[in-house]
């Protein structure tokens, strides 16, 4: 599973990350002193039971939230304390997120959902349409471009979400439970695509509670009681 023969450079680092949520019943600490490295071009899997903070950790890595303590580094630059505007730029160009429940925009068509990450980037409409069309054709969804998410199957929705996540060719893809809600066939297709992306140089970080095959991962971590450790 872990390829010790090749040691790519570290692209992302977490140093002592903690996250506490304030609730009506008092504070709840989800992550406790989480530290690990992610290497460029590798598939890194973070596994753990439901509620251990996997999605929270991915959210911190994607800048959707800020850690309560600790640091996050990307390409030798600390990013956990960046401004909202800088984070917007990073999410447009470097880091992309594949959500657990797809998070497709319900009133946008499949094509428009994929286009969402390309808007306000300076790419003209024609170029966008060509890229979206080609990508959805590759996923076998060319004919469903004008369909709303509610008119697609769960598997198709997941593929549209994946297309949206990779259309800008991000350096890092954060995938939260990517094969959780889909049928085994679609799940396998998804895994295959992620492996292909990894081979093409995209760094992939996957959060899973067990449905994602660990044998395709270059590195594996276990998140338990808010703490992280390497898989045995």
């Amino acid at each position: 599973m872990i390829n010790n023969a090749v040691q790519p450079e570290v692209i992302m680092q977490c140093r002592g990350i903690s996250k506490t949520f304030e609730t009506r019943r008092g504070p709840i600490q989800i992550l406790k002193d989480v530290s690990f490295n992610v290497r460029r071009g590798q598939i890194t899997v973070i596994s753990g039971r439901t509620g251990t903070g996997k999605s929270t950790l991915l959210g911190l890595l994607g800048g959707l939230d800020k850690p309560s303590t600790g640091e996050i580094w990307l390409d030798d630059q600390r990013i956990d304390n960046l401004s909202t505007a800088r984070w917007s730029s990073i999410r447009r160009k470097k880091i992309s997120i594949l959500f657990q429940n797809f998070n497709l925009l319900p009133s946008w068509t499949a094509g428009e959902n994929v286009e969402a990450t390309m808007l306000h980037t300076g790419i003209n409409r024609q170029q966008r349409n060509e890229k979206i069309s080609a990508l959805l054709a590759e996923f076998g969804l060319r004919e469903r471009m004008e369909h709303l998410p509610c008119e697609l199957s769960i598997g198709q929705q997941q593929m549209v979400a994946l297309a949206r996540a990779i259309v800008n060719e991000p350096a890092i893809l954060l995938a939260d439970e990517p094969s959780d809600d889909v049928d085994p066939q679609t799940a396998q297709e998804l895994v295959n695509r992620l492996v292909l992306l990894g081979r093409n140089g995209t760094t992939i970080i996957v959060a899973t509670h067990g449905n994602f095959p660990l044998d395709v991962a270059d590195r594996c971590f276990l998140l338990e009681d808010g703490r992280i450790k390497a898989c045995g």
């Binding site: 939230d65 505007a85 917007s88 730029s89 925009l105 009133s107 969402a116 949206r164």
Partner: protein, 403 residues
Amino acid sequence: MSDIWICAWRELRRRKARTAVSIIGYATAVAVAIVIGTMLSRSRQAADNILTSTGTHFIAFVPATYPPCPGCSIRRPESPDEGFTANGVVSAVFSTELVDKVRAFPSVKDASPYLLFRFKSRQDGHTFTVGGFDVNNTSAVGTTCCAATDIIKGRFMDANDRGSVMLEESYARGQNLTAGDKIRVANKQFNVVGVVNPGIRPAKADIYMPYPEALEVINVQLPYQPIFKEANVILVEVASSKLQEEAMRSVRALLGGMVISSYACYRPAASVMGINERAAWILTWLLAATVVLLAVKTEWSSVIERRREIGILKAMGWSNGNVIAQILAGSVVQALGGGLAGVLASIILIALLPAQKTAAGSSIYLVIIVPALIIAVLSGLVAGIIPAIGAARQRPADALRSL
């Protein structure tokens, strides 16, 4: 930039019902504002036409006091029953140059010198007033003294008349005189060319004659202190009913002790107009404010509904500026669409109103339409900015956790 408008248009199309409600709101406010503004404009012009003949004139005189005011003089004939009079009191005389000064005030349209003198008849001892006026003046004289439209018998005097007078109707009846008869004033005989009924004008007299002839007969009664280029009353026509107060103030300040006599009805007439107009504009602004508040509420509801969606977009890399711009663009498009629909509706409504043709004609529309559209667009910006900033500030993680 075009991406903002593309996304805004898509959102409006997707939420047709909400978009329609917002546009209808804006359209209603703009249409009402334009219709009210147009009606007020027409009403104001119509009222001005009426007010022009209601209380836009007055007379000025100086009651005789001892010592007389600077610039005045008291001329008393031998008979105590005779003398210069105005409003039932003995009045002083002053130079007609004063009338030129009055005519020069910006609030005054016209002014004319007037002699009003009470005579006592040598035949039967009755007293009567003689009004000496400028026959060539039809403005100030016509509204305060007498006009050609007041003639009920005979004709009105003209500049060529010599040795002629007009009689006021009640005096003529009392003296059993009519047009064509002769009458003696002082030691001179006059032909009666017409009988007038000037109503309740402030410079009413029993006998009207041209100023030079009045001067002549009055000086018969003042052998030791004749008057020359003098008058005891100034007839004033004001430029506009709204300038009445200003004109009266200016004339009053010319001579100490100057008294003004006018119709008091100009005051309630002008104030009623002002009250109606003010109320209409207050209602219009209230309506506009209500529409903006409703639009804010609608946009805010829309943003709350789209909280998760906005969080997804921010997770995709949309900046706060992109979010704000899209929400504002949607709000402005609704406001502009509603504004244009309101303009169309107002044109139809105004065409259906009872025809009140005005000199301004179609220019009324342009004066009100452009500001109404600008205010609609600004309202859209105001309605959208608060929800937009609120949406942009939320953290993507919080938005994505929202149900």
